[in-house]
Symmetry: none
Subunit: 128 residues, 10 copies
């Protein structure tokens, strides 16, 4: 089951604001209604707090393991998206953060969900 | 015939606003004038009300079954688009919602219809 | 010859504003100067008046037959574009309407004509 | 040699403003310096004056013959572009008009020239 | 070596402002550090002064010969870009002028340099 | 290990502001956690200070050697990006500077990091 | 109605065998069952008999007028293809000849018909 | 008018067989029936005789001038193709030679003509 | 001038036959007739003799310097192609070797030349 | 340095012949002449011996570590390709095996090397 304790972080290396994007193309969870597997691409974009405010970045391998902890979880698309947003906000307390999930078709329907934390700069407000 | 009672919903998992998009590429209904089948892609975009206001999301399998209930219905493109918009607004009472239908060519003419509910944020106002 | 009496309409199914686009790729008429056939794609975009104002939509098969009535008419590109705009405005009295015609090359020149009725929303003001 | 008397026009069919674009992909003239042939695509965009102001449109076959009159003329790219602009403005007195010429490479250099008459609406101000 | 005396010009054919773009895809010079050849595409965009102010345009063949005069010159990318800008500004005194150079990869690094003269209109401010 | 002493510069050739972009597609370093190699494309964009203020440009071959000095360094993506930004700002003191790193997938996740120095002009604020 | 008397020919210019292909993208006829227009691309490939055998080629403008004579004819796809093959064989008596017709979709089905005269060389035996 | 005396040649530089292809994208002549200009791409492929047999190659600039000599000639597509083949065979007496002409659309019909001299190796027998 | 003494080789590392392809996209020489620069992509494909027969491979940096030695040489396309073939055959005595040169357009004509040494395996007999 | 002892294998799971392809896009080694890094994509295709002949397959993670052992090795492209072929043939003794290496451009030249073991089925004989 989704395990936020897997998320590790390290101190951000700078006081100058910068932006990080991690695109995970191999996410899988389980539909809570049908039991069938779901597949998604998860895009995470965020700006860590500066070093002088003890800002941190998520460590990439721990992020991968955290994503893998959803593998056998029965959970809706919407809950995946909001859960990841909340866990990462809790782990990093970033200046802003954005999660966009693209779900491969199931029953002929494909889906995109977007969840934000704090104000996103205008040129990141696109759906994709 | 179109059966909105098929639509099921579940409580939105968050108080933070977020946006959901479902793209159904296998919609079919029947032309009320000629009796021939029509084929469309239906794009649904919406923002659910927050959890503290009892906001809900449409359940994906129920959405698929709801779309399938148009299969043998004789109904115009424009009515399909507005009917889906109205049924989904009634079922979810979302903050905003947008339906865009792309219809494959019939008699050499292909069509696109867009219907909104409440104000759509500027970067979602495109036709497609 | 162009016959606007072929145009049929049906009551718009909604009071909420929505936008309709029909793209006809098989239009043909005749050059009034040379007698040779012309070929075009006709894009129609419009917003019907709401149901409470007795708004109507053009019926798709009747639109096809109306377009076919230009088949043996000797008429300039510009007149085709304005005539279709005027006939459809007369038949539907829409909130706004836009006709864009793309003509295949003749003598090494291809052409695009755009005619509007009332103010077109900004994101539909492109040429194509 | 360029012969503006070849340009014919006909009364614009409407009082409602509309926009016309003719793209001629087979233009050829001669380099005045080397005597070698030049090849270009000529894009003409304009808005005719309304019918109530005796607005006119250029007739398409006459435009083709006018373009062909440059075939053996030794003339610079810049002069071709401005000459066509001036001849067409004189022949039609349009509300606005724009000429864009794309010249195939000569000596490894390809060129684009743009000349306007009156104010061009913002969404037509692109180079191409 | 770069020889601005090769640049010839001719009187601009019009008082109406217009814009000229020449794209040279076969530019080559020599790296001053390694002696190896460099290859670039040079884009020149400018607006000549109007005829009533004795505005001039650069003659295309002379531009080609001028570019060829860099063939065996050891010179940095940045100096090529600024030198061409300065020579052309001196030769034409245009209303505005822009030079963009795209350099093919060397050591796995490819480069783009942009140098302007006077204010560039907003829709020409892109990097490419 | 990353060696900023490799960076050489030369005086900027102009007082007129201009913009330089170097795209290095063959960057490699080592993951500090797993010891596996990482691969990235590094985009550097900057505006050197003018010549009258002793502005300098980074010499391209020295930039390549500097990038190669990361080859066997165990270092996070975020630290690579900020380290390069800081070393180049120190070496050149430019008007503004931007580093964007695109990292190839590892564990199914690919990443993009952006770090700026001073205000970036609006049309360079994109993520890529 | 289809009028083979429109077809004109001229003596083939050579005794050496050669191959001619004419691709007409603006063919239209009428469906004999529904009365609706059909649209096709007609490809004609043939080898004329040599000059010493009084071989002839079809004149291009006459071919265009001949194709236009199908404009208001009610005729099946299969009959169009065979009729054109037979009329052209009769008019030219070529060494070999091939007609391939590509019909735009009607009712969601698009069609390709091929008819040959005499043996077609192997590398022309493809369907398209 | 087509002037084969413009064709110059030089001794082939080798006894080893090799193959040459010249693709001219800016050919123009005049339709003998309508007087309108025609535009084509001319592909020439050939194998010169070996040096020991006094084999020659066509000089490229002379080929360009020869092609330009068709500029104001009224001549059919088929005659252009065979004339060029015959003139080049006469000027070079090559081991084999192939001319393929692609003509831009006129009246909605575009054309391809192929003429050979001697046996063409199998992998050059395609139409294009 | 072309200097085959620049070509260095090293012993082939294997007795098992294998195939090597080097594609040089930045070749330039000078037209012997006009003095203008020519630009080409040079593709070299060959199979070295096996190690037991003292087979050798051309060293890549020496090949680059050899190609650069054509930079200011006035020489025809055909001679470039055959000269490179002969120099490389002399330097390596390979089992078979193929040179294909693609020349950028000059005067609207682009060219491809292919020269072989010994029998080329069938799947390498294409022109490109 | 290249370490074949890193290669592990496991028994092939079948007696029926099948084909395996591993494409490694992040290979890097060092040029023995210049000391600069080289980057390649390595394609491995092979058919393991059947299970009844004790056929084996290479284990994927061990293949990755084996490729990484070239990271700081000074070695020519040709030797990389033959070395990998020989090490893998020794480790697996497959029915047939093919190594194709694509090297990123260095000095404007990009390279492709192919080395085979035993007869490759015809549809794998292409260069890429």
């Amino acid at each position: 089951m989704p395990d936020p304790s897997l998320l590790e972080s390290f101190p951000t290396p700078s006081d100058t604001p910068f932006v990080i994007e991690h695109i995970a193309e191999e996410f899988t969870s389980v539909c809570p209604k049908t039991g069938h597997p779901d597949f998604a691409t998860i895009t995470l974009r965020y700006q860590p707090r500066p070093a002088r405010e003890q800002g941190v970045c998520v460590e990439l391998k721990s992020l991968k393991l955290y994503y893998q902890s959803f593998r056998n979880e029965g959970i809706y698309y919407e809950a995946v998206t909001n859960t990841i947003r909340d866990h990462l906000v809790h782990a990093m307390n970033p200046t802003w953060l954005q999660i966009i999930t693209h779900w491969k078709g199931r029953g002929g329907i494909r889906s995109i969900i977007r969840a934000d934390h704090n104000d996103i700069p205008p040129h990141f407000r696109a759906m994709t």
